[in-house]
């Protein structure tokens, strides 16, 4: 029998590696090393656990080895196979698995204890463990079902198993739904309280599972579009909290440290992301998709241009700035954009890409998509650095961006007030590829569309980029 202190020191080193890992992940230079540190910490924690179990006597390896093998296989396969465009969904899915695992550990512990008749007498131990089991389940199930809904929303929908029909995932949330959510949350907490008074009653445990699973679904259902990253970040924070509660359930400090640290850091990240979008967390969570719900009615009209016209304007341009947005991700047009850039560069034109901090479905989404299309990193320029270049640029080509370029944000009025924007309106000619004149996520009309120097190409991002490319070839 090895002294228990050895294991605790091992866990402490693992926890230190997690802390360093998260710290380093927040800076571009050290991020890859930070990720490796986190992985090393996890490897050490697993190793210490296995060694401890071995030294204290393992009664059966089947489930341990089987579970690890299946998990490694599936996890590695999913991580290798994923396309860069499917990254946000995968992060949401993994997050759900983390929360689900915590919930299942708590469930397994309570069922195991009931099976063995190993229920403590009323007292600190009973209260502490049963409250931890209840809360770990509550947070864990919310994280699991919430993340699954978030994943399907990021995908845009799901395939119905039998009919193979593609169904768009609904974004639905009337104001009264918030009351239902509060009731579900209160109900789950009440069930946790009931389990303390009647610890052997399994009905309460299953009740917590049911209510919190439903709560997770309803929690994410009303949130849509550009708010999704914020929700995934919040769910990430919750999965950490679930792991911390599980730490109380099994009496292990490394779970408590790593879990609560991820929970807190995840919450800070959530606030940072909210701030970049000029939104507050309560707005994101409790006001349904579309901000205040009052969208501007678009009454003005603008005559659309055709790709040939735009190609003529582009002919001879010295400097073009490409502004990608949510629309580029949706239409998967990054390769067409790269092809366009290649043609322009062959004519001696200087191409750069303006990256708004919240463009796309997830922060950094544009970088990842364009990197996938082999756009050199130096051409991707962040907002603060590129804004001064717009006045010297001949053409600003905007693909599926709206709110991030809306000049109304400068006026300090309306939902976009104060949000930093890309100064595309300072370019000599503005070309916008967009499906219609409709308002963006914030529900505000965009004056930029109606300016004389603006040319609108109405249509799907990929289709219009391809047509523009062939028009350029014909010149």
């Amino acid at each position: 029998m090895v002294n228990a202190a050895v294991w605790d020191i091992g866990y402490l080193v693992a926890a230190a590696l997690f802390i360093l890992g998260i710290k380093q992940l927040s800076s571009p230079r050290t991020a890859p090393q930070g990720n490796r540190m986190g992985a090393m910490g996890m490897f050490l924690a697993v190793l210490v656990t296995l060694a401890r179990m071995y030294s204290e006597g393992v009664v059966g390896w089947e489930l341990i080895v089987g579970g690890l093998a299946i998990g490694i296989l599936i996890g590695a396969l999913m991580a290798t196979r994923v396309e860069m465009t499917g990254m946000p969904e995968l992060v949401a899915l993994f997050n759900g698995f983390g929360g689900g695992a915590s919930a299942l550990v708590a469930l397994s512990e309570v069922l195991g204890r009931l099976q063995e008749g190993n229920v403590p007498d009323a007292g600190v131990e009973l209260y502490a463990i049963w409250v931890a089991i209840g809360l770990s389940g509550l947070v864990g199930w919310v994280t699991l079902t919430g993340s699954l809904v978030a994943m399907m929303k990021l995908k845009g929908g799901f395939v119905v198993p039998i009919s193979k029909k593609w169904v768009r995932f609904p974004t639905w949330g009337p104001p009264w739904l918030n009351v239902v959510k509060i009731l579900l949350f209160a109900g789950s907490l009440y069930l946790v309280w009931l389990t303390i008074n009647d610890p052997t009653n399994k009905d309460y445990i299953w009740g917590i599972v049911g209510l919190s699973s439903l709560l997770g679904i309803l929690f994410v259902m009303p949130i849509g579009g550009a708010d999704m990253p914020v929700v995934v970040s919040l769910l990430n924070s919750l999965s950490g909290i679930a792991a911390a509660f599980t730490g109380f359930v099994i009496g292990n400090n490394v779970l408590i440290i790593a879990g609560s640290m991820v929970g807190a850091a995840g919450l800070i990240l959530t606030f940072i992301m909210c701030k970049a979008m000029n939104r507050t967390l309560p707005d994101v969570l409790f006001k349904s998709f579309g901000g205040s719900g009052e969208k501007d009615q678009v009454t003005r009209t603008k005559v659309g241009s055709d790709p040939e016209e735009v190609a003529m304007v582009l002919d001879g341009a010295q400097k073009v700035i490409v502004v990608p947005g949510y629309g580029m991700a949706v239409s998967q047009s990054q390769h067409a954009v790269k092809e366009f850039a290649n043609m322009m560069e062959a004519e001696g034109c200087e191409i750069s890409y303006a990256i708004h901090p919240v463009a796309g479905r997830m922060p950094g989404h544009m970088n990842v998509l364009l990197a996938e299309a082999s756009v050199p990193y130096e051409q991707l320029i962040e907002m603060d650095d590129i804004n001064s270049e717009f006045p010297e640029c001949d053409v600003a080509l905007i693909i599926g961006a709206n709110d991030t370029i809306n000049p109304v944000a400068r006026t300090g009025e309306g939902p976009l007030a104060g949000m930093p924007i890309l100064d595309v309106d300072k370019a000599r000619v503005v070309v916008i590829i967009k499906r219609s004149l409709s308002v963006g996520y914030a529900g505000v009309d965009n004056d930029l569309f109606y300016m004389d120097k603006t040319m609108m190409l109405f249509g799907d991002g990929k289709k219009m980029m391809n047509e523009l490319n062939s028009a350029l070839k014909e010149l």
Partner: protein, 124 residues
């Protein structure tokens, strides 16, 4: 009957008595919990937006630490027949936690190579 030799050790038995979680041990764990939360709040302050997603994904992989709990509870014997519901649930938890950990770190690495790796090679 489910046999879990370490179920007695799932709570520290510093009080000496069988299965007793002392108030002191509980307070110790709560202290760790609260301090770690404060640590997490202080840990990150300014993150460039390109790193939001990798940071989220990396932190998420770390929250897969619940794998430790899943491992401990998966320790069950088959020689007496079906190990029982609790064991199978622990098995499911182990699979999910392992996917979370392995997939999470791999995907984060992949993203960082795309974002940060090109920066180094680009010499910027």
């Amino acid at each position: 009957m489910l046999r879990r030799p370490d179920s007695r050790k799932t709570v520290p038995t510093r009080g000496g008595g069988k299965l007793s979680l002392t108030v002191a041990a509980l307070i110790g764990s709560i202290t760790v919990f609260v301090l770690a939360i404060f640590l997490g709040f202080e840990l990150i302050s300014k993150v460039p937006s390109t790193l939001h997603t990798p940071l989220m994904s990396g932190a998420n992989a770390i929250s897969g630490i619940t794998i430790v709990g899943a491992l401990i509870l998966s320790n069950t014997a088959f020689n007496e027949g079906d190990p029982g519901t609790a064991a199978w649930i622990a098995f499911a938890a182990l699979i999910m936690a392992t996917i979370n950990v392995v997939g999470g770190f791999m995907v984060t690495n992949k993203m960082l190579e795309m974002i940060a790796g090109k920066r180094r090679r680009g010499g910027k």
